[in-house]
Symmetry: D3
Subunit: 233 residues, 6 copies
C-alpha cells in the first residue's frame, strides 16, 4: 500500500562518467538514442533560454499545493543531482523560489525539474539556477502534509526513478534509466558523429533527398512531380 | 444597474510613499505579505523578461474586441499610474500597440496590465514599456461600443479598484488594496529582512530543515527515513 | 479527389520588390492594411525574440507525426522563400531541427512557419534561423507516409498558397495573397506614414481623443464623466 | 488587511420574488438584460444537461486544494441559496462530492457553482443536485487552512457578493447584484415578450433582415450582393 | 484585395443525391474515404449527443464578437443547407441562439457549424436543431461590422467553399469538396460494405491480426513475444 | 535499453474477487482508500455518462498516430480485462473505433482507457462499450511502427502495470496496483460503511461541523463569526 511516507537515503546513482557524457548531448539526441522514449511533457519549459544540464535524479512526490517535502529533499541531494518534483495532483502554484534555489545551489544541485509552478524567477535567473517548470506563478503553498523522497515518480508523464539521469535543455527534458546511461551516451556519440558529417554536406548545399537516398522509396510510394501551371495573370 | 458607461475622474490613489516601497519588493513577497491574496491569474505574462513595476491603477472595463475606451482612459492617467484593462468577455485580440504605448509613456504611466492581447511587442520592448498580457496577437479591434474607466474591474480573476497598487514582475501581477498599501509594504520589509538572514544561512549550506526547525513536526507526522536497498547490479 | 500526393515545381511567386517592401513593415500593419485578414493563429510563437522576416511561401502538407515531406520540400526552395508546414492533423511533435535548418539556410530560405513542434532550438537560435511554431518539443517523427508540396494548405487557421508572401515578427505571422502583395505593401507604407505623424503628436503629449477627434462621437453615444466621490478616509 | 478569516452570518439576500422571477429566464436573457455583464467564465459547465436554477449566493473563499470552509459554509445556507465556491488559486481538485451534496440538499440549497473540481457526479446527478464546475475530478482535498464565508469573491472571473442572485443553466452562470434583481427581472420579462413576437415571425419564415429592418444600414455600410459565377463544370 | 464585403447569391451546391448518400455514413468513414483529409478541428463538439447530418455549406466570414452577418446569411440559405460560420479571429462569444435557430429551421437548414460559441442550447436541444461549436457561452455579440457570405472560409482549420458538403456527427465535422461528393460517397459505401464483413468476423471472435493478415509483417519488423515471468508472490 | 518491442503473454492479474469488490466502489472512494494516489489525469472523460467498471489492465505502449499495436493487444486480452493505451507522445488522433470495440467486446473486455482520441463514439455508445479518452476525433492513424504490449506504461500521468486493477466511472479513472487490490477493496468497504452512516445524519439535517466535530479546531485556528451589518437600503 502506498500509504507510508518515506525518505530513501543514498539511492544508487548513475555513474558520473555517463552523466558527464550525456551532458554534452542535447535532449533531442538523447531521446532518439534511446528509441524515442523518456521525454517529459512539452509543457515543461525553462525559466530562461540557453541552460543545458544533465544530473542524477533526487525525486520528490508531494501533495498538491504543499511544498514541505522539498525542504526534506534538499538534505538528500548531493553535488551533480537534479531535483525532480511531482505533485500527486496537477497544480500551477509556486512550490519553489529563490531561497530553495540558494539551498540547492549550496549543495551542488545542477537544476530543478518540476511538474508545477515556480516563483522568484528573476532571482533564479540572475543566479543562473536552471529550472524547467509547467508554470511561473507567485502563488504560495503550505507545509502541512507529507509525501516521499527518492521513490519512483511520474513527472510530466514520464516515470523517473531516483538515480536516473535527467537531461534538460531548451527542447525539454528527457530521463535516461540509471542502468542504460552509459549505453545511451555511446549511442548519442555515434549519432552525433554521423550527424556532423551529414550537417557538413547539407551546409554545402547537398539535399537530404540525396544524402539519405530517399528518392527511390518516394517514387515507389507514388510521389508525383509536376510543374506549376503557367501563371494566368 | 451597470448599464451606464461612465468615466470617473481623479479617483483617490494609494500614497506614493507606499507605492515606492512596494516597488522594491517582488510580487511573491507582496502576495505573501497580504495573506496570499491579490494575485492575478498565472496566464498573464510579461512581454519581455526583467521588468518590475509598482503603480496606481487606472482601470478600464471594455467590451470584447473593442479598444475604444483605452483611448478614453489615457486622459485619466497621471505619472506613476498603471493601466489595467479588462474586457467584459475573454479575448486574445491585440487591443494595445505601439501608438498607445507612446501615449501612455508620454503621460508617465509605468506599465500596462491587460487581460487580453497586445501587439507591436517589438516596439514596446525597444521602448522598454512593460506590459503583462494573456496573449501577443496582431489581430486588430474596433472602436464602436462604450465601456467605463475607473470603475472596479475583475482583471484575470482579481478585483481591482481604481487607485489600488498594482505590482508586477516576472512572477506575475498582484494587486494591493489602496488603503492596505502602507501596511503591506511594512510587512514586505519585515518579511524580506527575515528572508535575508535565512538566505545567508542557506547559502552557507545550512538546511531549511534546521533553519526552520522542521524535524520534530515531520517525525510527529510519521515521516520515515530508510536507506536504499543495496544496489543489486 | 485529394488522394494524389504531388510536388508542384516552380509555382509563381510574389514579385521580390513587393516582398522586400512588406519585409519593412510589421505583421500588425500588414494585417490592418489588407482589411484585418490573413493572420495565422496566435499560438504560433517565435523560438527567439526579435526576428522579422518576409518571404514567398513553399507549402508542405504532411501527415501527423511524419516529417518525410519536409525533406522533399527543401529541394523546391529558392532564396527568399519561407517554408510553411501544415500537418493534416494537429501535433506538437518536433518535425524540424538543426539539420533541416542547415539545409534550408544553405538554400537561402529565410525562415520556417510550422503548425507543429520544432526541436534543436538552441542550435537554430545560435544560427539565427527564425522559426514560428506551436510548440518546442524534442519528440521525433517518422518518415513513412507521403504528403504534398506547393499545394494550398491551411496553416494555423489561415489559407496559404504557394508563392504567397508570409510576413512574421514577434506579433505573429500574416499571409498576403501573391497578387495582392504590391497593393498591400503600398497601403502599409501609407498607413505607416500616417502613423508616424500621429506617433509624434502622442509623444509630445497630445491625446488620442483629440488626434482622432473622438470626443463628439463618445458624447453622442452617451459617455458620462463624473468626479470621484470625495475620499472618505 | 484581508488576513482575518471570517464567517458573516445572515447577509442580506435578494428578495425572493425577484429570484423567482429570474429563475424563469435563461442565463443569456439575464446577461443581456443587465447590459451584457455578470457572466462567469465559459469554462464552468453543468455536470448534467437540463438543469436551470436561480438562488441567492452564499459565498466561500478558500485556499487551493482545501475544502474545509465548505463544511463551515453549509451552516450558513438557507432554503433557496446557491453555494458559490472560489479557491484563492486555480485548482481542478474535487472539493465537493456526494456527502456535501446531501448536506446542502437537506438545507434546501438549490445548487452549487464552484471554480474548481467536483466528484461523485454519478450520485449528484442521480440526486438531481445541480452543479456548475470547471472540472470533474476524483482528487481529494485536505482540511487544514481557513478561509472566509459570505465575503465578496471573484468566482470564474466575476465578482459575487453574498446575497446576490446566481442564475445558471446550460449556457453558463450569471450573477445579478442583489439590489438590481427586481429591475433586471423586469427587463428580462420585457425582453422575452419582445422575443416571443419575433420568434413567431421567424418561425413563419420572415427574415431577421426584415424583422429587424437591417437592410438599409447594411447597404449604407457598403454590403455588396453578387450572383455566383456560372458553374464551370 | 479582400477588403470588399460581399454576399454571393446561389453558389453551385453539391448534388443532393451525393449529399443524401454521404448523410448515411459517419464522419470517420467520410474522412478515410477521401484520403484522411477534410476534418475540422477536434474542439468542435455537438451541443447534444446523437445528431448526424450532411448538408451543403452556406459560409459566413465575420469579424470577432459580431454576428451581424449571420442575419444576412439566413436569407441565402435553402433547404438542405448547413450554415458554416468562421470569425476572422478566434472567439468563444455566443454568436448564435434560439431565435436564429428558429429562423434557420424555418428555411430547412439542417444544422450549424461554428468556430465560436453558441447560447440557448437548452432551447436548441429541445428543438433538435443540431449545432457543432467550440464553446457554449451566453456572452452576446454586437452588430456593427460587415463580413461576407458564401466566400471560401477557413473554419476550425479546414477550408470550406460554399456548396461543399459538410458531414457532422458525434465524432466531429468533415468537409467534402463539392465536386468530389459523389465519388467520396461511393468510396464510403465500398468501405462500409468491406467493414461490415470484417465486423461480423470480429464479432464472432476472430482476431484483427488474422482478418487483416498482420502477423507476417509484425514478425518482419521484429516484434517479440515472451511469456511473463512466473509470478513471484 | 527500451529499444526492443515486445509482447508479454499472460501477465499475472489481480485476483477476480478483488476486482469484483473494487467494481462496486466509485473512483473517488478507491482513490481515497489507497492514500490519494493512483488517479489518471482529469482530462480523461467517458464517452457517455453513467458507465462504471473495474478490470485488469492489458497495457499498450505505442508510437504517436499509429494504432497497430492495439490490434496486437486484442489477442492478449481475456474476459474481465480493461485495455489501457498510452502513446509515447501526446496525440488526439482517433486510435480506436467501432471495429476494435466489437473485437474487444467479443473477448469479454470490459472497457478502454486511452490517453488519446477515439472515434465512432455513436456506435460505441449504442453498443455500451465504455471508453475513457482525452479526445473524440475522427482523425485516422497508420499501422507502420511497433510498440509493446503488457509492459509498464505511464497513461495520463499514472503508472500502470499489466494486471493492475483499473477502476473508472464518471469521476475519472484510478489504478490500483495488483498486489494491493484486496487490501484497497477492504478499505473501500470500511470507508463506505462509515460514509453511509454520515450520509444518513447529513440527510436528516445534521451539520458536518458537528458530525465531524470540527468546531473546536476551527476556533483554535482563529475563525471569527460575525453578523452582517444591518442592510442599509
Amino acid at each position: 500500500m502506498p500509504l507510508m511516507n518515506v525518505v530513501i537515503r543514498n539511492p544508487p546513482r548513475a555513474a558520473s562518467a555517463a552523466v558527464t557524457a550525456l551532458a554534452s548531448h542535447g535532449v533531442a539526441t538523447v531521446h532518439e538514442a534511446q528509441g524515442r522514449t523518456g521525454l517529459l511533457a512539452a509543457y515543461l519549459r525553462p525559466i530562461y533560454p540557453g541552460a543545458r544540464i544533465a544530473g542524477t535524479a533526487v525525486t520528490v512526490s508531494l501533495p498538491p499545493c504543499d511544498n514541505w517535502m522539498i525542504h526534506v529533499a534538499v538534505e538528500q541531494c548531493a553535488p551533480g543531482d537534479v531535483l525532480v518534483v511531482a505533485p500527486t495532483s496537477p497544480s500551477d502554484a509556486g512550490y519553489f523560489g529563490d531561497l530553495l534555489g540558494c539551498s540547492l545551489a549550496a549543495r551542488g544541485v545542477v537544476g530543478l525539474v518540476i511538474d508545477a509552478g515556480v516563483r522568484d524567477v528573476r532571482e533564479l535567473t540572475a543566479a543562473r539556477f536552471p529550472v524547467w517548470s509547467r508554470a511561473v506563478f507567485a502563488q504560495g503553498t503550505v507545509k502541512e502534509t507529507l509525501g516521499s523522497v527518492n521513490v519512483p515518480v511520474v513527472c510530466a508523464g514520464a516515470l523517473v526513478h531516483p538515480g536516473d539521469v535527467v537531461v534538460a535543455d531548451d527542447d525539454g527534458v528527457c530521463v535516461v534509466p540509471r542502468r542504460d546511461a552509459a549505453q545511451v551516451a555511446e549511442r548519442c556519440a555515434a549519432r552525433e558523429s554521423k550527424e556532423a558529417a551529414v550537417r557538413e554536406r547539407l551546409r554545402r548545399g547537398e539535399l537530404g533527398l540525396d544524402v539519405y537516398a530517399m528518392r527511390a522509396r518516394l517514387a515507389e510510394r507514388g510521389l508525383v512531380y509536376r510543374d506549376a501551371a503557367p501563371d494566368e495573370d
